[in-house]
Amino acid sequence: MYVTTGEDEANEGEEVRLMSTPVPTAQPFLEKFPDATIISDDVDRPAILVPKEHIIDAATLAKEMGFDHAESVSGVDFPNDNQIEVVYHLGSYTNENLTKCVLALATRAPREDDPRPGQDSTRLPTLREVFYSVEFHEREIFEMFGVYFEGHPDNRRLLLPEDWADLPPMRKDFAIKGR
Amino acid sequence: MEFELLACGGRQIMSVIAPTFRLSYFLKSILDNVFWIIVLVTLVGIPAIQIVLFYIEMPVINGELLTPFLALTWLADPSRAIPIVKAFMYTDFFRIAVFPGFGLAALVAAGTIFVERKMLAKLQLRVGPFYCGKVEGILQLAGDGLKLISKEIIIPAKADKPIFWIAPVAFVGTAAAFVSLIPVAPGWVVADVELGVLAVFAVIGFFPIVTVLSAWSANSKFPFIGGIRALHQMISFEIPLILSLLGVVMLAGTMSLTGIAESQEFIPWIVFLPVGAIVFFICILAELERIPFDLPEAESEIVAGWLTEFSGMMYGLVQLGTYLKLYAFAALFTVMFLGGWSGPMLWPPFPEEIITDGIQLGPITATIPGLPLLDQAMLNGVLWFLLKTVAVIFFILLPRGVFPRIRIDMLLSLGWYKLIGLSFINIFIALALLYAGVLGPGGII
């Protein structure tokens, strides 16, 4: 039962064949969502910025292309644009020709200067229904940036203490003392 | 500046640095202590002893009753010393508190703790207690005991205080009661009960009650879970424990522990009943809550189980009780299966010429009445008993270095299905031996 399996011969050959013909991962998004912006068209690290209305459809498309899990969800605060960007880094375990590829699917939520997390307009639709693995990542984004994910079943604090009553700490206007 | 202050004894500053050592200060402090000891002993100690002696029955020595006024004369007259000691050794108090009872058990328990820590350390490629007491950390246990005594006892706010206070004492008391039933040598037992095995079962039955009471009275979640686990574990393992001893009782034809030990003068019962011995040994491990059966104290699941809320010397008492229990169970195994004190005579006979001629120290010959203090058979019996008990204790300690902890459902299925089945097999073996006329009263052997 507990036997180390060697590498699968068939998979090895397939991988070599497929790696020679890389798939353009960023193009299908542009075809389907004309208002999307391609940030990077790199084979291994494609990056797309999609408006928040289309983010669920874009994630579904990514899932159809073979991306099956989220590696990381990071938020980036842009106070000058008055927007908060949420970047989903999607990877694939099952699709052999996407194993090297990490798709950065970004979207932007409006930002408010006086945030009231959960009650203001800084909202995005959750991707938990599409990628189950974003659950804890989105909880972290919620507490760190104040982005409320609509439809997330468990929008609670994760890392911060329960009685945290300051700004969401990863926003740029939350300054560290002495810096 | 600071150096000057330090040099004059360190009295003027509250410094953590030790003041400079001076031999004169050292000698002065010793002399101070000696002075106060002499004053207190002469003014308080000796009168107090004399007052107490008026209420104690005195032995008869050289045909005359020792009076309290003469009691301390043994200090000057060695010929009176040994008879007094001997008279004291045959009192019940000595048996309960010192030799076959609590004192011996506590000594073996202390030795067990030390050996356990050192042996486990060697097994795990480390050193173990090392610094305390210079020689391989021999005083570590004393240090730990002192630390526990000096610690604050914290009682949970919503605990049932009387029961919570009583529990550790009751635990030690139960363990001591168990110890009192164990015969160490012919005639050397605190309580020689006719139905000794039954008395042992009765005493063992108190442990789960004490455990559950202490766990429940703490009014805390982790002790409660631990107590319930202990209850499950002890009850499910008491049945195979009792059943595995029945074979021995059948073959020996007596329930007295002394009688059982005497019945295996030539061949111990483990030879005929190995299954029962194995079942009994596993039950010992479970009853003692030792790895791999230490579920009631599983620290990664339920902190320290039913011991979680105990602090200071309350915890120390429970630990003392645990190790007394360990000694008692190992001794019970020795008595039931390994033949107790029986064994070839190893102890050298007491030299007769000391009794007849006295001890010659150069020109002086001192005849000391009352020798020998203990007879040869008794000393040999104790030696064999302790050797066997220590061997059993060693085997009880060994699994701790080898096995992980098992789970409660595995434990219960082991107790209820496998061990009870095996102990029935053991009973059948005993019955077969008995009815075939091989062993037992009137048997071939």
């Binding site: 507990y2 699968d8 189950y132 009685d163 | 979640k221 599983a298």
Partner: protein, 379 residues
């Protein structure tokens, strides 16, 4: 309105079920690490589990926005000081790409050796705690002792026992000492002998197998769906190792295998890191033999280098799985945003999923088999 409506979300009063007992396992609990697991039990069965990390959240990502690319190095390794080379690795790779720095060939090999030594240090520490969680005190002491071999090696190499801060953009801080290769080979050979003995006392122990096999089973599909990584993923039968799939530095030229077990239970999850340590020894020996014997180990940096107007996402395989670093740069000496996507945090999501319906006695073994390091998950 009741009082509970006025309280902040995490402090609301809960309805109490008569049958259900809520246990706060941690942070002050010998079986929790630096986190709290809120476990609800019905009898001996866990009906719900809610991991509550964040007890040691230190805001490493926020601090990284205030320091430049070089001064970020010593504090970014703090989340896992036992695996400090590997947690710096993606950040250093990302910084090299942003700042446009080439790394000398020898430095790449030195980095791989340091990273693999560090992986062993971490895994031994993890294994020791796994042993004590199961009540196996010998398995706590043996790896803790053998860990010293690698700590000594890394001390020779980097000058520090645990917090190395060894990797820098453009190579490593200093070259190997002269006799390092011999000492390293000797220690690794001894360690390989030693690690084989672990199976005698731990992995082949019947009680251990009966306790951990078939508990907390994570199926292959669930492992992928939950986005788990590292040993958790490989124990569930997914052959995914960043070192193989997307080789960084010189891993593509080295000879090693990935270890994949199929059963997906706690036992397999505890065995994969042990097998990985043997592969690490192989990698170290291979890298020592293939390494260029001389040459520079660091590229000279400009003072206060500035990144471009882009972002990078780099990942490596750490002791706890894929470790990604997302760096956003905005033409400043400081990174605009650094996000560490750590394996511990990604595996955390599997904990409530696996513990539901398990017995309370299985909680420590399932929890620690997730290869979860609370401090790293909190960052």
């Amino acid at each position: 309105m009741t009082m509970s409506a006025q309280l902040p979300p995490g402090l609301q009063l809960e309805k109490v079920d008569e049958r259900i007992m809520t246990l706060n396992v941690g942070p002050q609990h010998p079986g929790s690490g630096h986190m709290r697991i809120i476990v609800q039990i019905d009898g001996d069965y866990i009906v719900a589990c809610d991991p509550d990390p964040g007890y040691v959240h230190r805001g490493e990502e926020k601090m990284a926005e205030y320091r430049n690319y070089i001064t970020n190095i010593p504090h970014l390794e703090r989340p896992v000081i036992h695996d400090s080379c590997n947690i710096l690795y993606p950040y250093v790779l990302g910084a090299e790409e942003l700042l446009g720095i080439e790394v000398p060939e020898r430095a790449k090999y030195v980095r791989v050796i340091a990273a693999e030594l560090n992986r062993c240090v971490y895994t031994l520490y993890w294994l020791a705690i796994y042993g004590i969680f199961l009540g196996h005190s010998t398995m706590f002491m043996w790896p803790s002792g053998d860990r010293e071999l690698f700590i000594d090696l890394l001390e020779k190499l980097t000058g520090a026992r645990v917090t190395h801060a060894y990797f820098i953009p453009g190579g490593v801080r200093n070259d190997m000492p002269a006799n390092f290769e011999d000492v390293c080979l000797r220690q690794v050979r001894y360690f390989e002998k030693r690690i084989a003995e672990y199976s005698d006392i731990f992995y082949d122990n019947p009680i251990l197998i009966s306790r951990t096999a078939n508990t907390g089973v994570l199926s292959r599909n669930d492992a992928i769906r939950l986005g788990t990584t590292g040993s958790v993923l490989r124990a569930s039968g997914v052959d995914y190792d960043v070192r193989k799939k997307e080789p960084y530095d010189v891993y593509d030229s080295l000879d090693f295998e990935t270890n994949v077990l199929k059963s997906g239970d706690s036992y397999a999850r505890s065995k994969v890191p042990w097998l990985d340590m043997m592969e690490s020894c192989r990698i170290i020996r291979d890298a020592l033999s293939k390494m260029p014997k001389s040459g520079s180990v660091r590229t000279k940096l400009k003072p206060n280098p500035k990144g471009g107007d882009t972002s990078v996402y780099k990942r490596v395989e750490s002791g706890r799985g894929a470790l990604g670093c997302h760096i956003v740069s905005r033409k400043k000496p400081e990174p605009y945003r650094v996000k560490l996507s750590v394996g511990s945090f990604r595996n955390l999501i599997a904990m409530p999923y696996l513990l539901k319906g398990e017995k309370l006695g299985n909680m420590p073994s399932v929890y620690w088999s997730l290869n979860y390091w609370p401090v790293e998950a909190d960052r």
